[in-house]
């Protein structure tokens, strides 16, 4: 198993303790395309943050690619994030004063890859996502869909073990949302990339092969979705 969670608990303590994750057991295999669905406050984002080593958990075990992710120093965590995880965010999280290609290069910069090589690789990835002509544009000169594709290129450039997407279509219109989900499907199908998407939109979840329903901090149901028939609005649209 690529990802293995055993009885993971997480409590936020902002004045009043809030038990967000109440014992999560979950395993995700290599090459899976999974969505985590739930209402807001269900704990799905917290779960994703723990999977992405952006946040720590209180009790339980989290194994990522055979390594126990626990009590890491910030530097170790940064290194794991850099090498094993690619992030796609709802708000893109591109750095505004950097061009598209510079944004894509950034993870390689932190790996110490030489300028020339990382620039070349970044251009390659942008080309694959159809953004070659936009390489030297700044984020505020691009549309939402283009920005998200830049972010996807940035997530992929380090060849991570998993890609974590937090509401990747949350800020996009329905047409672009479909395009982005198709792109992720293609990545999973053609390159065997393990992708975990957090969403509250059934259309987005329907694009994935497995839907994990989370409710009040526990996993409610795990639904196989090979036929992509989970959405009431059909298989090829995302209802906004």
């Amino acid at each position: 198993m690529l990802i293995e969670l055993k009885g993971v608990n997480k409590t936020y303590d902002n004045g009043q303790p809030l038990h967000v994750l109440k014992g999560i057991d979950l395993s995700i295999d290599k090459g899976e395309f999974v969505s985590i669905m739930g209402a807001s406050g269900s704990g799905k984002s917290t779960l994703l943050n723990i999977l992405g080593i952006l946040d720590n958990y209180d009790t339980g075990e989290y194994w990522l690619d055979g390594k126990l992710i626990r009590d890491l120093t910030e530097t170790q965590a940064a290194d794991y994030r850099n090498r094993m995880i690619g992030f796609i965010f709802q708000s893109y999280n591109l750095i505004g004063f950097k061009t598209a290609v510079e944004n894509v290069e950034l993870p390689l910069f932190y790996q110490g890859v030489s300028r020339r090589k990382r620039h070349q690789m970044a251009l390659e990835y942008l080309d694959r996502l159809g953004l070659k002509d936009w390489a030297s544009h700044y984020p505020n000169e691009m549309s939402g869909g283009q920005k998200q594709r830049v972010a996807i290129a940035r997530a992929l450039i380090t060849r991570p073990r998993i890609v974590l997407a937090d509401e990747p279509t949350g800020a996009l219109d329905s047409k672009t949302s479909v395009e982005i989900m198709e792109l992720l499907q293609q990545l999973n199908r053609e390159e065997g990339m393990t992708i975990i998407v957090v969403t509250h939109e059934s259309g987005v979840a329907n694009a994935t092969n497995k839907i994990i329903h989370i409710k009040d901090g526990i996993i409610g149901a795990i639904e196989e979705n090979r036929q992509h028939a989970a959405s009431p609005f059909g298989t090829t649209t995302i209802m906004k």
Partner: protein, 422 residues
């Protein structure tokens, strides 16, 4: 390294206003510091040059007794004589006294052609020149033969000679000419460099002691004794010396041994000691002001650093999410702040040195006429480049240290919290 600089350059370009503000705080701090220290140094140098050359001469003036003693009433005039000079020259004070010169003064008028001056004729010995460091511009000083033969020769101050000759005439031309002082004709044998900054009212003419004493019927009285001394470094030492000489003189003239009013000592050393004290106070004040100026610069830098770090929290969150280690963020922030402070510190330093240069050119060495005295307000109002560089380095180091805390906090904050920040 090039990557780091490129990172910093693009973030600075992005935040032009912030960069400009930080730069201004730094440049202004250094500029003010250097301008202030320069002006202060100008005042100090002027004070020191106005106080004249540090010489080791003292003048003894005879005064009145303040106590009745040995059958005499008090308020009796003490008349110093040859014997009192010999005491000073003798073995008794050989340890402290170098050269001794009796001086007699007489006020009279000096006439040359249709011009005249009220002057003070000083009858003195050739050794006076060494005691007072008289600088001759032309001709010669009073010599032994003048004294022995009671010649009517005088040495004139340069400004006085200029006044006699009128503007634009070289005062040296007066050497060898005859001028009238009182009823007699005197020959000008030399011109000395008069010390403007000392002020001092009436022009002083130097003439042989014997001549002045004879012409004005001074009867070999010695109202003043000039002498050069050695070894009297502290106030206590000179007090002790003065007391013991006074004791000898009092004994010779039948005054009470402990009568302190018989002699008055004018001592350039003690007045220069007071000057030293004033200079020390000004210097301390300057340093305190300077340190506070620097401090305000440092506060400016760390303040902007704080804002910078706060503003960029979200960006740092993104960087952390994609793999930036705390150390690499810390390096980024600190290098950026060092670069900014170094660059603008350098600009401020250059401007400050330039301001000093302008002060030097416009106000330096320009005497201000304060009536009877001419005072130079600024002499060489500059700061050494080493001091300027040190101050700039200090600001960079201190600014960085001050920025380290917010930078450290930013590097430590959890990525999830940083990403949430807007």
């Amino acid at each position: 390294m090039r990557d780091l600089f490129q990172e910093i350059f693009s973030s600075l370009q992005q935040n032009k206003l912030r960069t400009a503000l930080t730069g201004f705080a730094v440049a202004w701090g250094i500029f003010m510091l250097i301008a202030l220290l320069g002006a202060g140094n100008g005042v100090l140098n002027a004070l020191m040059s106005n106080s004249g050359t540090m010489d080791h001469s003292m003048v003894v003036y005879s005064q009145y007794t303040s106590k009745a003693w040995g059958g005499y009433e008090k308020n009796r005039r003490i008349r110093l004589d040859r014997k009192d000079v010999e005491y000073l020259e003798g073995d008794m004070f050989a340890e402290n006294v170098d050269q001794v010169c009796p001086v007699v003064r007489q006020t009279d008028s000096l006439v040359y052609g249709d011009r005249y001056l009220s002057v003070q004729l000083m009858g003195l010995m050739p050794v006076f020149r060494e005691i007072q460091n008289v600088e001759l511009l032309s001709g010669r000083f009073v010599n032994e033969l003048d004294v022995k033969e009671r010649r009517k020769v005088i040495v004139l101050g340069r400004t006085d000679a200029e006044q006699l000759l009128g503007a634009g005439v070289d005062p040296v031309r007066l050497v060898g000419q005859n001028v009238k002082v009182g009823p007699f004709s005197w020959q000008v044998v030399g011109i000395y460099k008069s010390d403007e900054s000392m002020g001092g009212g009436m022009p002083q003419l130097y003439a042989p002691y014997s001549t002045v004493s004879l012409i004005y019927g001074k009867d070999n009285e010695i109202p003043q004794i000039y002498f050069s001394f050695k070894g009297l470094e502290t106030e206590q030492e000179s007090d002790r010396f003065e007391a013991s000489y006074r004791g000898v003189v009092n004994g010779h003239h039948g005054a009470a041994p402990d009568d302190e009013n018989t002699l008055y000592f004018w001592n350039r050393l003690s007045s220069s000691q007071q000057m030293d004290k004033a200079i020390r106070i000004i210097r301390t004040a300057l340093w305190i002001l300077g340190i506070f100026t620097l401090l305000s610069g440092i506060v400016g830098v760390s303040n902007i650093m704080l804002i910078t770090v706060k503003e960029r929290t979200h960006e740092f969150g993104i960087r952390k999410a994609i793999g930036a280690s705390p150390a690499s963020l810390l390096k980024l922030i600190i290098t950026e702040s060092v670069l900014i402070t170094a660059f603008f510190g350098y600009v401020g330093m250059v401007l400050g040195l330039l301001a000093n240069h302008i002060m030097d050119k416009t106000m330096g060495d320009v005497p201000i006429d304060a009536g009877i005295i001419q005072i130079t307000m600024f002499v060489n109002p500059t700061v050494g480049v080493d001091v300027a560089v040190k101050a700039t380095l200090l600001l960079i180091v201190a600014g960085t240290l001050a920025g380290l805390i917010p930078a450290w906090k930013a590097a430590k904050v959890k990525p999830i919290e940083a990403l949430r920040a807007e």
